[in-house]
């Protein structure tokens, strides 16, 4: 029981990964404090932590004003840092909002950590998005950083803060670069959270999934429980060999396969194959697969849940709690196109 009696802070603990992580931490005997200000569009959902209500402390505070929860920082043993804007599309529409949430707030929070809890372990949730269009596959941690959207730029800046403050001993940071994570407690009603959210929403609404072209681009979705285990390992490892780890899924699947498997699991009508609009085809990022050997070698982590049982478990969870995740009055959230840039928006659409 690595976390028994540990005081743990989870920023963004009402969100998808943060809530699943908090639930596991409570199960492992940790004292969990969640910092979450439920920023619109960032996926916070109080229902996510229903299984542990009353067993966790929830602080409704903005990460950009860490003075408000300084005592919580001072008291904690480990920080899991998952707060952030996750929508690539939002970031293109409102880049300064994204900069504020993902970079400015992280700077203030980490400076407070360095002052108040010097040397504290901080595990940060980064994303494969920072790699942009792959130069090669599978992508390891040395792949060039070439994000295709503001979200990627700002999340990478925050990860550089973690690395830089760790190099000088002010915090003890670890950065996990996550591929597409899916499973229970993922937001389904926030527009443009990636294709897995869209797929799940359509299946739950008995709509056919839609795939452009031949759908042969690869993705390697990772099930939430596997992602949570990566966080737990990174948070408790004594001596880290590295400070940046890729976290990928167990299978390289085509969008095609993903759609077919999910459709079968849902008992939904068949997949619709639509012609690939030329302008999207030209800027498609192609395939993405992860080389997770570094975290396997250093921390012994490997993904264990294949997509078939994973998507079935996710669907079962949502069916049981549908009203908590889909608002029947707004069944199909739409993405508004940024005014000044059609090209950028289309690139994003292809990239997520």
């Amino acid at each position: 029981m690595r976390y028994r009696g540990k005081r743990v802070l989870v920023t963004g603990g009402l969100g998808f990964i943060g809530s699943n992580l908090s639930i596991r931490l409570v199960e492992e005997g940790a004292e969990v404090t969640i910092i979450d200000s439920s920023v619109a569009g960032c996926g916070a959902n109080l229902f996510n932590i229903a299984p542990i209500r009353g067993e966790v402390r929830i602080v409704d505070a903005d990460l950009a004003e860490p003075e408000a929860f300084r005592n919580d920082i001072a008291d904690c043993d480990i920080i899991f840092n998952l707060a952030g804007e996750i929508s690539h599309i939002h970031s293109m529409q409102f880049p300064e909002r994204d900069l504020q949430i993902n970079t400015v707030a992280q700077l203030r929070f980490l400076m407070e950590c360095a002052r108040t809890a010097p040397g504290v372990r901080v595990v940060y949730a980064s994303t494969r998005q920072i790699y942009g269009i792959p130069d090669y596959l599978p992508i390891d941690e040395r792949h060039p950083i070439q994000p295709v959207d503001f979200n990627g730029v700002h999340k990478y800046a925050a990860s550089m803060y973690h690395q830089m403050l760790s190099r000088t001993g002010q915090i003890d940071g670890v950065v996990l670069r996550l591929t597409n994570v899916y499973g229970p407690r993922m937001a389904l009603d926030v527009p443009c959270q990636g294709f897995l959210s869209t797929f799940l929403r359509r299946l739950l609404m008995s709509q056919p999934l839609q795939v452009y072209g031949d759908g042969r681009q690869l993705r390697d979705p990772v099930y939430i429980d596997d992602a949570v285990e990566a966080f737990l390992l990174a948070g408790s490892a004594r001596n880290l060999e590295h400070r940046t780890y890729n976290v990928g899924g167990p299978q390289a699947l085509s969008l095609n396969d993903i759609a077919e498997i999910a459709t079968l699991a849902a008992g939904a009508p068949g997949v619709e194959y639509l012609p690939f609009p030329e302008e999207i085809r030209q800027i498609d990022i192609g395939s993405y697969t992860t080389d997770s050997n570094l975290i396997l070698d250093d921390l012994g982590w490997r993904p264990t849940v294949r997509f078939e049982p994973g998507v079935a478990r996710a669907l079962a969870y949502y069916r049981e709690n549908l009203a908590r995740y889909l608002d029947p009055n707004h069944p199909q959230p739409s993405c508004r196109m940024p005014e000044h840039s059609g090209a950028a928006w289309r690139l994003l659409y292809a990239a997520v």
Copy 2:
């Protein structure tokens, strides 16, 4: 005459590199508009452009408020983007100030460029600082990005904006990663602008140069005229093979050699060798040298001015204009240590 009749915008045009570049552009027949709000500590000096006063337009505007000079953006053919905070020490003392100047302002400025002058060539002045402690030498463009200070994080975020907006066709950006640049018009009265500024200041004040330990760490200083030529080539190249180029000097010299050569050129008293404080020795970044082959292959650029004549020219310039660069009332600006982090400050001191 590549720039005859071209309308060119130079942000940070009153600073060290910006002013030298502006003078060359005017000589080449360009219509130059300088955007510079003379932010304290960023090296702006109106005297720098004395040779071209009356021949350039100067707009006193903050890069973070580009609406104020939208027409200048709309009218221009090429943008040289050199505005920024350059002090690593300042960035550790006031990280949010650095974030505002180097990232937030760049975001607003570049979004305005994308709207007002879509597809415009923008040449951005980045720095070797983003590479941090070298994994190998000489450093090429594929070296990992691991900045050791906030300045490096924020400058790298700005360079990612350039790359990202270029990938989507909104601007046509090029990023130059400069090694230590030296020569006429460098600020000497701003604390902690790097060891070459300190060396020049001490020589001009007839103080001996000071080197810690054996001074065998390598640096490859590049003379300002060579750096300016790299900007001119990057600004006028038709089809760029790459969007990021290292710009290094012609020689790998030890700090030792640099100090001895400069001392000889200045006719100053001998170099003082002081014991290396253990805590600094432990965090010394060691040697840095640049692999500039990419810009040689693509743009035909190579550095031509060796350190001996370069430092002599710099000294001659400053001796002729000493009162414009050194305030006798504040002969030795000092660096204030950030309150919370001795270790970070010392690392910086070793890194610049």
